[in-house]
Symmetry: C2
Subunit: 562 residues, 2 copies
């Protein structure tokens, strides 16, 4: 007798290998043991395939046994009998974190479209990605390095306001969504543990995040292709080795994506580095794998360099939780998803220097920074476009021109070879060699951008992500400033109690400290990164031209004996 299960929710198959089930539909299982959250079975329409284990309830009453199944579980009539060597299917609060599909070319969405991890859960914790209408979770977050108006997720309560200073009527405002408004209005509350405290200190150049006392880095090795469902599905797994633990963990892109969503939700005025961009096709191609890995290395660099992000619990969980201890992983995952100190409450965790900032001075600095980021964004866009075009020209045009020169020398040497005089043989050989040298130089040109332009473009992409974050960060700070001005006016007019107005000012002061600290951090990593990358670029270019020179010197030597 086979095992049977009843569907708890509708599930619409979206990929080959999956089957759809309707709520309350009965399905026959081949095996009660789920494989990474998926079960295989036959639905009421006789379709056979995979569906999420979390969408069904396995029935305890025996069903006709599935004859001929090759695995060792066919004798277990019940899934959850004690003593069974396997855990019962894990009924998570979240639906499966990927949409399964068959074959490696079709399932590109596997690694990518599962930012719905939390949001799609009909009965889950919810609220991670309120859509723009505030009507509930949205499926996935679409970020792109070229979108500068990216909405930032937030979990700010949309509840009633009791404050005299009016609420922002624009529910789409980042100030509202980020929780900035709620915090400034004094609506945020939560218990801040000592370990959660985030300090802004006054450094040489103004407010800055307190340095991470335990700095670390994290290497990302070339990913390996993993398969599951007997090879039906495959994905890339990256080996991460944090320097502070020296313990390897394996993570998939979807784990990065999940982490990213948590960070964006938690930190309203911190520029969370964007992940390398999506790619629909060629996900297992060497070039793409290498490019994404480099993007992830840069991303990791910015994560570990950031005094706040580097230390936060969810990132540490991501870096240190054993890949094989699924239970610990899910525990940490749920803890992060239930974290209360996100959005508005995040500001509660910030402690600042005692002396408050001059808000007028802050405003002027913020305006200057806004101008700076706009101009930097424009110029990064231009450098990006120029270098991309330059790389394209080197790969196509430059290569072609040098190879045409090489070809013409080769043709000349072939003509000369018709002369069989002994004294001309050496020259013929030397000219043929020169032709080959120019052919090789053409290849050098085609190959070069991998070494200099591409890494520069990776850096620029990361910065384009940051620059796309800043309008929202600035918006939160400016929203807070506006609230201060309004409240001062109301207090002067007697419409608001002075202590309430002072509270708004104090909270705005905290947001301002955090914003200035974040700006300072941005400038510091910018100078560090661009110095290093420009040096790297020039070193590669120098090496490139030296390689050409050396090839030509080889060719020249051939004439010595010609």
């Amino acid at each position: 007798m086979a095992l049977r299960a009843r569907a708890l929710y509708d599930f619409n198959s979206e990929n080959p290998g999956e089957i759809s089930v309707r709520e309350n539909e009965m399905v026959t299982l081949y095996c009660e043991q789920d494989i990474e959250g998926w079960l295989e079975g036959v639905n009421s329409r006789g379709e056979r395939g995979l569906f999420p284990a979390s969408y069904v309830e396995i029935l305890k009453s025996p069903a006709p046994s599935y004859g001929g199944a090759p695995d060792g579980y066919q004798g277990s009539r019940y899934a959850n009998v004690p003593g069974a060597p396997y855990e019962p299917p894990y009924r998570s609060h979240v639906p499966p974190s990927y949409q399964p599909s068959q074959g490696s070319d079709d399932d590109w969405d596997d690694d990518w479209d599962d930012s719905s991890t939390v949001a799609d859960d009909p009965g889950g914790v919810g609220g991670a990605y309120p859509d723009y209408d505030g009507n509930g979770p949205a499926a996935g977050m679409n970020y792109s390095v070229s979108t500068s108006s990216m909405p930032r997720g937030g979990s700010a309560p949309q509840a009633k306001s009791s404050a005299t200073v009016g609420r922002n009527l624009n529910r789409f405002s980042t100030f509202v969504k980020s929780g900035g408004e709620a915090f400034v209005l004094g609506e945020a509350s939560g218990f801040v543990k000592d370990g959660d405290k985030i300090c802004v200190v006054t450094g040489q150049y103004g407010p800055e995040w307190q340095e991470n006392p335990y700095p670390f880095a994290c290497s990302i090795d070339d990913p390996t292709k993993q398969t599951k469902f007997k090879g039906m599905k495959s994905y890339m797994s990256y080996k991460l080795t944090p320097s502070h633990t020296q313990s390897q963990v394996h993570r998939r892109y979807k784990h990065f994506d999940w982490l990213y969503a948590r960070l964006v939700e938690k930190f309203p005025v911190i520029s969370v580095p964007h992940l390398p961009e999506k790619q629909a096709t060629g996900r297992f191609e060497e070039d793409f794998i290498s490019k994404r890995r480099k993007g992830l290395i840069w991303w990791m660099n910015h994560m570990t360099s950031h005094p706040v992000l580097a230390r936060c619990d969810v990132f540490q969980h991501f870096l240190t939780c054993s890949s094989t201890d699924e239970k610990a992983w899910k525990q940490g995952k749920r803890k992060a998803e239930k974290d209360e100190m996100v959005g508005a409450n995040f500001f509660l965790t910030i402690s600042t220097p005692a002396a408050p900032l001059d808000l007028q001075d802050v405003e002027s600095k913020i305006d200057g920074f806004k101008t700076f980021t706009k101009k930097m964004d424009d110029s990064v866009l231009q450098v990006n476009a120029t270098l991309s075009e330059f790389a394209r020209k080197q790969i196509a045009g430059f290569k072609k021109e040098y190879q045409k020169v090489g070809q013409s020398f080769k043709i000349l040497s072939q003509a000369f070879e018709l002369d069989q005089q002994a004294y001309s043989a050496g020259l013929n050989h030397a000219i043929a060699y020169t032709g080959d040298a120019y052919d090789a130089i053409g290849e050098y040109f085609a190959d070069q951008s991998r070494h200099d332009v591409d890494p520069m473009l990776d850096l620029l992409a990361l910065y384009q992500g940051h620059l796309a974050n800043y309008p929202d960060i600035i918006h939160v700070q400016k929203g807070a400033l506006t609230k201060v001005k309004e409240s001062q006016k109301h207090a002067e007019e007697g419409k608001m109690e002075r202590p309430q107005a002072d509270g708004i000012r104090e909270r705005c002061n905290i947001i301002s400290f955090a914003t200035l600290a974040e700006m300072q951090h941005f400038h510091q990593i910018r100078v560090r990164d661009f110095r290093a990358q420009m040096q790297q670029y020039l070193r590669e270019q120098i090496g490139f031209f030296q390689k050409i020179t050396s090839k030509l010197e080889d060719a020249l030597r051939k004439y010595d004996s010609a």
Copy 2:
């Protein structure tokens, strides 16, 4: 009373500053003294200007004095009175060697269109340039490096044939025009002085011209702009310094052109190097002057390298006759133009090794050489086209791409300069410097072809000239071979006396020795020239890439302190 003259011939003015005169027309002269063959006066229509002194006859009877002439000759009533401090106008047998014009932009034809020096002389020695119909002198010779079917001038008698072996009915045939036919048929005759003897010897690689026992070279310095007619006309004068005399002479392009015509006329189976090509405009522009000078240097190199050409009288006259001794120059000029040992008679001057050549072997070698030159011509054409395009790309595309990269770095540095943090100033400066470096590299690319491609193109142009000569040279030898075959047949059939047939074979043997010697010479200079030029090209390219490397290293160092 002014001086008067009567026109001897029609003269049609073709340039500003000149006036037309009709035969027998009376003209009033301002001065009886010609300036380089030109007189200034007023014709019967009252037009004032220059006309050729040789076209008029100065009348001895006094004419009304020209009042108010500012020069010092108005008191001299007679041009030719003894004791006058000026020589009488020189009545040359040749018309003026240029068509005068006013201003330097209009008179480009001055330097170029005067190969009519001899040919246009109505009563002169004539015959230098019979036109294709054999109807008399043609005005000028149009040669071009890209024309491979260039007709070669010749002064072969077109007279009756008494030989049994038939004359070639194609009067345009190079074999006929070069004098090859006449020589083979035994019609050439002339007294060969010992000094005129040209020896073909058997060298390591077969027949070759006897080496020049007094090898020399000749430098060509940057030309200077000369003016005459009170600045109305200008031309470029080149300073030549032959190493065997160490005496400077000044020559204009028209002198080279005249010399070239003499050489082509004289040597039927020698590849006379072509002069650098004509240019209609920009004759005084620095680029053109420099380019033409380089072309002339190459030309001179091939002249002095050639054992026969280097030693011939007309070339020695050109190299050694004092520029200021007009009389000696004209004497040598007339002697060259009257040289009888040209064309058919040139072959009389050749002495060969005693053992005759195997004519079948010769034929096979000639055929091989024909294939070789054809293939070399094709490949030179291709190298020429490729390098020209490569240079164009470097001047336009490559420069633009590198400068766009430079520009984008400069824009980035400008954006960064909006951040006034002390720690970012060094980086901003370094990036700006990098931008400038790429801008400079763009200029390097644009400038580079002057140093490598252009000299290569100059060499290729010279060789294209030689390769254009060879079909005619081969044609002469093949014509002679055909005559041998015909005569052998006729002798066998009893239609020709054996001694006559043997004479044809002997004379064909001479032509064959000369042709093989010339081929050998071609291979030797080809290997020498292409080896040197390829080395030069590679050295320049190496220097170019080293210059780029060094510029980038400068830029990289700026980051050390950034």
